[in-house]
Symmetry: C2
Subunit: 524 residues, 2 copies
Amino acid sequence: MALTRRVFLTRLAATGGAAMAYDAMTGLGLLAAPASSRFDLQGHGHGVRVVVLGAGLAGLAIAYELNKLGYVCTVLEGRGRPGGRAHTIRRGTTSEEEGSSQTCAFDEGLYFNPGAMRIPHHHQTTLGYCRELGVPVEAFINYCDSTYLVQTKSARLAGERLRYREARTDLDGYIAELLAKALSQEELDLPLTLNDRDNLIEYLRRSGAITTDKSEYRGSTRRGYERPPSAGDDEGKRSDPLALSDLLGSRDGFYLQQDYDYQNSMLQVQGGTDRLPQAFAARLKDKVVYHAKVTAIRQRERGVSVRYEDRDGKIKTVDADYCACTIPLLVLAALDADFSGEFKAAIASATYSPAGKIGLQFKRRFWEEDDTIYGGHSSTDQDIAQIVYPSHGFHAKKGVLLGYYIMGQGGRPMGDKTPAERLEAALEQGSRIHPQYREEFETAFSVAWHRVPWNLGSWASFSGDARRDAYPRLLKPDGRVYLSGDHMSNWNAWMQGALDSGRLVATQIHTRAEQENQPRSTGA
Amino acid sequence: MALTRRVFLTRLAATGGAAMAYDAMTGLGLLAAPASSRFDLQGHGHGVRVVVLGAGLAGLAIAYELNKLGYVCTVLEGRGRPGGRAHTIRRGTTSEEEGSSQTCAFDEGLYFNPGAMRIPHHHQTTLGYCRELGVPVEAFINYCDSTYLVQTKSARLAGERLRYREARTDLDGYIAELLAKALSQEELDLPLTLNDRDNLIEYLRRSGAITTDKSEYRGSTRRGYERPPSAGDDEGKRSDPLALSDLLGSRDGFYLQQDYDYQNSMLQVQGGTDRLPQAFAARLKDKVVYHAKVTAIRQRERGVSVRYEDRDGKIKTVDADYCACTIPLLVLAALDADFSGEFKAAIASATYSPAGKIGLQFKRRFWEEDDTIYGGHSSTDQDIAQIVYPSHGFHAKKGVLLGYYIMGQGGRPMGDKTPAERLEAALEQGSRIHPQYREEFETAFSVAWHRVPWNLGSWASFSGDARRDAYPRLLKPDGRVYLSGDHMSNWNAWMQGALDSGRLVATQIHTRAEQENQPRSTGA
């Protein structure tokens, strides 16, 4: 048998994995361009049927891409809306949590995104879809140097409000001072030429704002002013640096790192994250069936049957050639599916994080007016972890900020409280950062993802073992069922992960369908 | 004579300077609140006449504030528009440069700001006026970690395109490595307790992403990827760090500092900077006389006469009780005014910077599509100094970026070229950063502020001597003439400086007018 392109790719995907297959496809011209923002599968679906479980971003991307090629897609979505965690809370939104009865009472035009809210500028799959679908994006300000650091349990500076700029400038200054002094001590054994040493000292003077004579850090205008400069002879009053041992003892500096995911610039969907899934859904029209609760998955030799309960409680069945399943793994584990034992065990190995957010509407944007904070987030060692300020609607009369965004396990105890108790915790702890809170507060809405039955958590968190052993198994189809979602990517918890995974599964299904369903014109 | 509030303030302003007077006014309740965004002069102007020379932001703020109090203000503006350097270039805008005949041919909706373009989040006077006048603001992205550093004259890495994130991550990493290693050498004499030392090493591990065992910097995902992570098993391919001596020899790191003025977040006026002066002008209605070229200033014992040529060439005169003059000092030095010799000498001591910008319209936003750059600026040691990418209109079909923004003396030779020559320099040098330039370029518009007769420069740059000797003299009125503008502030070259100075002069005129012109009901 001659090695056809198709067979080659299928073998490569089986042995070398998706990355190698993707590279090969790019090289063979199956994909239009190497830039991840360009994605253009070649060929035709010839009416092959694909059932997609879940109308979150992964499922939408799969159906959207396969639909382009002439596949017949049906997307089953349990909720009455697309998007999953790519959701936006506005006036009238009701809670999806088990046993909760919150209805959002924000003023018209105010909103927050309880799940995905920001897009790194290098997430070109996400941004590429925004471009392709005509969904406007705008800047999301992830850092503002006027935001606060407030430690309550630290050895030093407990309860004090530091501005980000103060902690960062002082730490940079002291580090520059210490290294510059160390470099000038001749007995020091460091791998630097004299020329490098001089260049480095010059760099440290600039980066740390240290004195040119004695390499001392004595504060800097970069840390801000007690009274800012103004007109005429008012040069302002500079603020004094904190002591290094206070800073280190407070651990405020530990909040300053900028990992790749969060570097400048970041973007957000204008008007709310849900406009992106809505744009996908608008292209798919009646291919998305809402209020369709999947109850069983059955595979045959050449097909998949998915049973679901429709909005009237009637049981229906979709028969398809392939299935792309984006159902979160905790939910999938409890579903009646005839997966292999190995696949089921791998699904069961996943755990999920219990992240949650609360949106607080205030009568006025005191963080802008009183604190000169425009976007960014304040950080604290209290349960609320952070306060996130809106990057849009500046100077409007009112505003909604995130009173907490708890990413780790701390989300569980907070989410297990009643909405009223969550609010009280947010107000009580937030008041230590913004004393204006109680006076200005109007209304709130909170989401605890682990209590939403469609999700049971905010994002997958595989243990090291599960990532090593179970994850590779989940990447391979079980018969004709392919798993997809941000949990099947290296951008876990990001829209990019869901969309990249959707593209990968669309590619895998297309490659296999071309092999299995088309007339054999080549090879022997 | 009893010391009335008014007399006290006047004396304080004369002896202690504006800052002390401002503090005192705040304390006495003459100003509503200490926050600089609140400004609310108390009292009444009783029809006292004030002539304001120049409808830039300083002049507009003076007229706006005094108008509120019942002063009769006349603003004389040489141009046919308000705003001065708070200007926006759009389709149809014509050049104001001497001897230039550029007309902007950008597509509708595209624009750039040739002067003031960004607002630090802590500039509460500027932002306060935007709020008060209903001028929407949005994020201005000053740093994007994907932008480029390109040195062409350096000892190392000449001609290579580094991303900001690469230079910063590597420098932070090596600095952390070196200091951590130095701290672990016992003979080192540094003023740290053992506890501080351990805390600092832990902080360095995080801030520099160095290894926990040997404190070595071996690269980090923070510097980005050769191939980014994606779905399935694609963990991406990490990029390798540069050598420290290459980085230091290239001087790329010297572009990384974030001074107070430029820290996150920054903002811009939505739709173009000129909407702010337009909003002021709309409130002042027919109080602003356009095309009014001031030709002479004459003072009498109790008044000021200003002669000007109107748009038809007719000579007219405005008589007023006080004059606020915002005319740039180089222009003012050439004006027929009967100032004291001392005042004239002080005016003549000012020099101005020759900053300039060029806006380039491209067929597509290749910096977003190909380079994942959203806002921010690339830096280079070439004449163009920097390329500034737009923070608005993301994903639109076309875009305008700043092909150069030259802030120092390099602006003069560039601005002395013809517009066509400036463009050629921008394209030729810019192509070393973006090879797409020639292919995608459509049309350009450039501004050299030193060639605009209303300005003769971009911003004042006092020498150390002039700042010490002449500047304090210029802050005091000459008879009934008060100077105002960003050049009369400690926020030189910022809108905040113009507006703060406008408020200060409005306050000074009001304080004096209350003293000189009202019935003496108190004191003896």
